[in-house]
């Protein structure tokens, strides 16, 4: 049994006031303390004033839209973010994941699904704290305890989800990790058809690694199966 934990603080940025109140009621029994802000500016202010465990961010916001809010947040915070998008709005969804959202749900979502995702992300950040080992693959160093990645002393900033993804791949370098397994471990849910979340996260990590000058190891894809972290043995020095 897990020891009783203090309530996790969750911030919802959504212009639907009633929805926020209902979610507060719905999530309360699971020790999730929900506060709502109705627009991006107020939301950013709340994020500065207090510490939060998780952010639920609607993409369709009046004034400053969700993507812009996300961009600002990601400048100095790696708080886990679950995005709410409209179904059929692939562009927003992909854009959101590219700008560093950890996961998304299309609105209207099944609240149980939302709860499951919140729990998955929470569990992940908690379990990380217990394991404090370090992983080294090629020039890449992962400090699981502090969730830091560095290459040759230079640190690379990854979001929680991106870090988790890289860790999954780094635990078995050279071996293909199926997409199903990655979805399960990284996002804490079953891989669903038409879901490109993992692929977007992979491409984000790739982008960050390559802009940090890391080309060994590299993330390769195996079509229809999954991804692997490949360490080039015949590395030229």
């Amino acid at each position: 049994m897990m020891p009783p934990m203090p309530d996790s603080k969750i911030l919802i940025i959504d212009d639907d006031r009633e929805l926020g109140e209902m979610l507060k009621e719905f999530l309360a029994p699971d020790h999730l303390d929900v506060s709502a802000r109705l627009n991006g500016e107020d939301g950013l202010q709340a994020l500065q004033d207090e510490t939060w465990d998780l952010l639920i961010l609607d993409i369709m916001l009046p004034g400053m839209n969700g993507i812009e809010v996300l961009k600002q947040i990601r400048q100095d915070s790696d708080i886990p973010v679950i995005m709410l998008t409209a179904r059929g709005d692939d562009v927003d969804r992909i854009l959101g994941l590219e700008f560093g959202a950890d996961d998304y749900l299309s609105k209207p979502f099944n609240p149980r699904e939302l709860l499951a995702r919140i729990k998955a992300i929470m569990r992940r950040s908690r379990s990380d704290e217990k394991r404090g080992k370090a992983l080294t693959v090629g020039s890449l160093e992962l400090d699981v305890g502090s969730r830091r990645v560095s290459a040759g002393g230079k640190s690379i900033r990854l979001t929680g989800t991106e870090f988790e993804l890289l860790r999954c791949l780094a635990e078995s370098p050279g071996k293909v990790v199926p997409k199903e397994q990655l979805t399960q471990q990284v996002l804490g849910r079953r891989h669903m058809p038409y879901d490109r979340s993992i692929d977007t996260h992979v491409s984000n990590v790739r982008g960050k690694l390559s802009s940090a000058g890391v080309d060994n190891p590299s993330i390769r894809s195996r079509r229809g199966v999954g991804y692997l972290l490949l360490l080039d043995v015949e590395e030229r020095r």
Binding site: D16, E18, L19, M22, L23, E25, F26, P29, M60, A86, R87, G88, D89, D90, V91, S106, K107, P108, F109, N110, P111, R112, P193, Y194, R223, G224
Partner: protein, 455 residues
């Protein structure tokens, strides 16, 4: 000369006036020349010579004179005896034959009574000579046959005519072009608009004109503006409606879960949940469709079509396998193929066609998805075993919310109404065509996409 009306009027009028003046001048000159030739001849010494030749040597003398006459070689002067024969035995041109025949007829008539007509001779328009033997010889003097040609060659008049021809041709051509060129522009624009490019305007090229065509161009563009505005308004409305519908749906779902907690699981609550999900899916499709209608904000990129088909088929298999459907999907890739297009739109297109096929296939029927290349087109064929649709409805299945009566009974999923409409739109967006045909026991949908490599 800004008005087209004035332009046409003045141009045509000036051409006609020039033509009239020219024609009149030529006609006048021709008539004058002919008259003077004949008059000159009549009063000339030639007539007197002829008459004295006849008096002195009779018919032979006259014949001799005629032979030596300079004009005789050109057949300008004929001398005809009372038998209607030319003295030199030449064939008479028709212009001479007719008066000769008339004179013959007159001679055959009984002579007029002597008392009143003895000294009266019917007027004759030709010079006549009476020989010593009382025979009458008639002289016909013709104008030179090639008089017009000569006139043209004379004194460079030909160049003048040529110039006139060129100028009038040029004026006519320019006039025609000022009308036809903007009309071609209009046609191009109308076609572009019809094929969905509402950004087309004609005023940039035509609108500078201040005439009726310039005004028409402005009106045309105004019409296109209105069309575009109405179009955008409609798609914007659809999008907003979809978004607005989602908020109450989202609250409904949360409320439903709260109710479940309080009352426990009820079959009715599950039902509400299912229906909410269906409604949501339908709204999602409407949104997707209106997005495709509006314009894709996507970037074009190279699409590996065979890879995309693999992944779509995998997803659909997963989706329907998960739901316990028995239909299986076969995928045949004849050749690998890369095209240039909008990946999300294309994916959505193929996905919708394959899903539609799976939904309509009978329980144990297979769906076949095939990729081939014909000429410079990639051809994706999706065949189901769903019994097809009546032939006259084949085109209509791509209309939004169209449902074939034959197929309706089998459809239980809410996405049926828009799937093929989305596919059709997405195909057009990618520059391709989509058609449906009936096979032995099902429907075959063919998507043709141009293979265009990006450079």
């Amino acid at each position: 000369m800004r008005s087209l009306l004035i332009r046409i009027f003045v141009s045509f009028w000036s051409i006609i006036v020039i033509t009239i003046i020219a024609a009149a001048a030529i006609g006048f000159w021709y008539a004058e020349r002919t008259r003077t030739t004949i008059e000159n001849f009549e009063v000339s010494d030639a007539v007197l010579e002829a008459s004295s030749a006849l008096r002195e040597n009779g018919r032979e003398g006259l014949t001799e004179w005629l032979r030596l006459l300079p004009g005789a070689a050109e057949s300008l002067v004929y001398v005809v005896d009372d038998q209607g024969k030319d003295l030199l035995g030449r064939r008479l041109p028709s212009i001479v034959k007719i008066p000769v025949r008339r004179m013959g007829e007159m001679r055959r008539r009984p002579p007029p009574a002597k008392h009143d007509s003895r000294y009266i001779r019917p007027a004759r328009p030709f010079t006549q000579l009476v020989g010593p033997d009382d025979r009458v010889y008639t002289m016909f003097v013709l104008p030179p046959r090639n008089i017009t040609t000569r006139w043209l060659v004379d004194k460079g008049r030909g160049g003048l005519v040529l110039l006139a021809l060129l100028v009038s041709a040029m004026v006519s051509y320019l006039l025609a072009r000022t009308i036809s060129r903007p009309i071609r522009r209009f046609r191009e624009s109308a076609n572009a608009i019809a094929s969905g490019n509402l950004d087309t305007r004609v005023a940039e090229s035509v609108g500078k004109r201040r005439d009726e065509i310039g005004l028409l161009a402005q009106d045309f563009d105004h019409m296109t503006d209105e069309l575009q505005r109405a179009w955008m308004q409609q798609t914007e409305l659809t999008r907003n409606v979809s978004h607005e519908l989602r908020s109450p749906l989202a609250r409904l779902r949360v409320a439903l879960e709260l109710a479940r907690r309080k009352t426990g699981d009820l079959a009715e609550l599950d039902r509400i949940d299912t229906e909410t999900e269906r409604l949501d899916e339908l709204i999602g499709r409407i949104l997707e469709y209106s997005r495709l209608e509006a314009d894709s904000h996507e970037q074009r990129s190279n699409i590996i079509l065979d890879e995309m088909l693999h992944s779509v088929v995998e997803d659909v298999r997963y989706e329907y396998g998960y739901q316990g459907d028995k239909a299986s999907i076969e995928l045949e890739i004849d050749t690998e193929c890369t095209i240039d297009g909008y990946p999300n739109a294309l994916r959505s297109c193929i996905e919708n066609v394959v899903r539609n096929a799976v939904q309509h296939s009978r329980d144990d029927g297979d769906v076949r998805v095939r990729l081939g290349v014909e000429q410079s087109q990639a051809v994706v064929t999706v065949e189901d075993q769903g019994g097809g649709v009546p032939d006259h409805e084949l085109d209509r299945i791509f209309e939004p919310f169209y449902r074939s009566r034959a197929r309706q009974a089998e459809v239980s999923r809410p996405s049926g109404g828009l799937g093929l409409a989305i596919a059709s739109r997405a195909t057009t967006l990618n520059g391709g065509t989509i058609t449906a045909s009936n096979t032995a026991n099902g429907l075959s949908v063919e998507i043709r996409l141009p293979i265009r490599k990006r450079y």
